[in-house]
């Protein structure tokens, strides 16, 4: 096909389509704009950093959730895993690892604790993945079960109490934990840096690597993915393991910020993560979505939350508004898809008749 023909038959550029595609970004700017007028000191440095910190937490779990949802699954356990991992970290700092068999207590260095806990998050994700792939449990149920199990274990770890004062003792070598949640590098919180780095890496993986492409395939059409030689079970399990990792990371960050671990940490986090992912244009049926979309979604939720607090709106209204925003986002998403399909059909029929004329 000659290049002239290609140019002639490319779908017409439409401002309307562009607006629809960038709607999440536009929505973010809109929200920022509105609040900058009605909330005092909204655009102050201190407030912006605070909003970034809140959004970064959502962004990290949303990134993990994006992988799972694009792969055709769902993970309801992230909040509980975050809570459990926070408790495990707190426990290791305050009480150490008790080994009654040898009659000793092991206190790990802080980096070691962080690594161990992240590993546990990955393992829990792997268990969810196992339920889904090898035992044929629907992702909703498998991760719902994991949600309760992890929450229960978190409570069991301390008998329901909080592990306070996670500063650590110098002689035990486990100081430095608070840096994770409260430290800054070049004036920007470490937490935000982590979110940015994670976002960049995962966006690259999803767009530019075969593994990323495979996730889209598995979520889009599992049968066709098998016939294309994709190891579907491996891909799915990997998404759950990564989701577990992000949940563990968030659990650590929260425990570090509070300098205490509380067993109820992370309650309902998974729902906010799903909301952020959906806001960003990912389809719950799988095969469609982007990391950048989820990040913007997380930002919108973070800004909305903080803005409403600053304006003095009741937190009950916040919850209501959050729900309305998510449904509205999906409605607009469906509309955009419909328009996109129509445009593609238009371009295709034009090309059909053109090539007929030439043939």
């Amino acid at each position: 096909m000659s290049t002239e023909m290609k140019r002639r038959t490319d779908p017409k550029f439409s401002v309307g389509m562009l607006i629809l595609k960038l709607r999440t970004l536009i929505a973010l700017f809109a929200v920022l704009l509105v609040f900058s007028f009605i909330a005092p000191n909204f655009l102050s440095m201190a407030n912006i950093i605070a909003m970034l910190k809140h959004s970064a937490i959502w962004a990290i779990i949303a990134i993990g959730m994006t992988f799972v949802i694009v792969g055709g699954g769902i993970d309801l356990s992230v909040g509980s895993i975050a809570g459990l991992c926070g408790m495990l970290a707190g426990g290791l700092i305050v009480e150490g690892l008790r080994l009654p068999v040898f009659g000793i207590v092991v206190y790990f260095h802080t980096p070691m604790i962080i690594l161990l806990v992240l590993l546990i998050g990955v393992l829990l994700g792997a268990v969810s993945g196992l339920f889904v792939t090898k035992l044929g449990v629907a992702p909703f149920i498998a991760t719902l079960g994991m949600m309760y199990m992890a929450r229960g274990l978190a409570m069991l770890r301390s008998g329901g109490k909080t592990f306070p004062n996670l500063i650590g003792k110098a002689e035990l070598g486990n100081t430095g934990f608070p840096f994770l949640g409260a430290g800054t590098i070049l004036g920007i919180p470490l937490l935000v840096w982590l979110a940015i780095i994670l976002a960049v890496i995962t966006a690259y993986v999803m767009k530019k690597t075969p593994s990323g492409r495979h996730v889209y395939a598995v979520g889009g059409n599992e049968d066709a993915a098998v016939l294309s030689g994709i190891r579907v079970n491996r891909v799915k399990t990997a998404t759950y393991m990564f989701s577990g990792f992000t949940a563990a990371l968030v659990g650590l960050i929260l425990a570090s910020q509070l300098v205490a671990s509380h067993p109820a940490t992370g309650d309902t986090f998974e729902l906010t993560a799903i909301a952020a992912v959906v806001l960003g244009g990912t389809s719950l049926s799988g095969g469609r979505g982007t990391i950048s979309g989820s990040i913007v979604g997380a930002l919108i939720l973070g800004v909305l939350n903080d803005g409403l607090v600053m304006v003095g709106v009741s937190s009950f209204w916040q919850t209501t508004i959050k729900g309305m925003v998510v449904v509205l986002a999906v409605i607009i998403d469906q509309y955009q898809l419909k328009k996109q399909n129509e445009a593609a059909l238009k371009g295709q029929t034009k090309s059909d008749s053109l090539s007929d004329a030439v043939a």
Partner: protein, 517 residues
Amino acid sequence: MSDGTADLAMEARDITKVFPGTTALQNVEFRIYRGKINVLVGENGAGKSTLMKIIAGIEQPTAGSLHMYKENGEVEEVSFSSTREAAKKGIGIVHQELNLFSDLDVAENIFMNKELKKYGSVHIDHHAQAERAREVLKRLGQDINPSTLVRDLRLGQQQIVEIAKTMIDEPKILIMDEPTSSLSVQEVRVLFKVIQELKQQGVAIVYISHRLEEVKEIGDYITILRDAKLIDCCRVAGIEMSEIIQKMVGRDPKKFFSGQAHDTGKELLRVEGMTLPRFGGGFTLENVSFTVREGEILGIYGLMGAGRTELLESMMGICDKAEGKVWLEKERLDKLDTKQRIQKGLVLIPEERQREGLFLNLSVGKNLSMASIIRYVKGFHIIKRLEDNLVSEMVEEMAIKVASPHISINALSGGNQQKVVIGKGLLTKPKVLLMDEPTRGIDVGAKSDVFEIMSNLARDKFGVVFVSSELEEIFSMSDRILVLSKGNITGEFDRSEATEEKIRKASEIGHGITVKA
């Protein structure tokens, strides 16, 4: 028989239908004669589906009118804003794509939204429904238990249930869109018998099909559409096959592809003792063994339930319970998983392209490259330029009609989508291609393209195994023909010694066919 308006059941006059960006129908006339089989043919995109949707009430025309003729000769102009309205006037439609509820049983599917009730209008009379369902199915020559779940039926049986759904309403005009695409030769005979019966009762049949031999066999009147316009309408008896094709396609049919013999080389693929037990006793495949050579096209023919698709799927490693040895160029494949088999050079073009072969939410390009991504990767990274180049080459090689590979696969016609699935397989650089009904549901032009592709593959020393339920196709394309019946190989014929009769006989072995045509 006179052609006077007394014999007309319905007439579509000057129908035009415009969609955003495209005209689907332009000033089309269509006459449906009572008690006759009115055939409608045309390539994909010619406007057949749109015309049928307008008559069945699914779409409304942009311009033009529909007229129904009552038995006494009176004419009334009608318009339908829904299928229910059209159904009330006695118009029924059997779609090509199945619209069944796989988790409900046959009777429930047949009576969906037309439930038989007792004790007023709340309680469903399951017993009565089952009885009537059984009646209708018997009339269609099928002994399907009405309480079977639709998901447990084979594709051919599901299609019969789809037809039964419309028969319940006793329509005066019955539109059938590719009704035989999944039926075996035997079932097609049964269906034709039923259609003839309906003809006797004065029902007007509108028959859409790509299978022109069927059209010639049972059609009374034929209407040919091309590019949204009416090209011709006349009696079937008065037109030759080649003329039909030429009017449909606008090109000289002699330029169409038919099979040629090839030189074959060394043995490429060997299957030994492929066995697949069936759930509930018996075997779906029993000790199937065969070989395929370089440059050879092996055609596999068989009736519904013969195990053709399962054979190909077992060779790809999808059926866990299958046992048997598979060699590709002397390497054992049967211990490997699907991904490894593809890497070794075996690839499957599946039967249902939308359900098993395509990623409907992705672009044409991404679909094409999905099975072979590793070829465009350096380190961790997909090289876009490399991918785009190979994709464009394949688009040209397959003659896929698409403006750019970034277009969503949804926008393509059935024939072009099928070419994408084949292209996806070819980009994996296979040695042997397994093709399951590669020409199902695509128009004459695309079919010819696919045959040409297959022949070129054979010429380039690939091995091709293809399954088809169209005897003529098997007959004209294959170098060797294998016949499967109830999981066993019942015949193996070389091109030179095969006759349609021998093949048909072999496919019926073990069936004890009881249905009399």
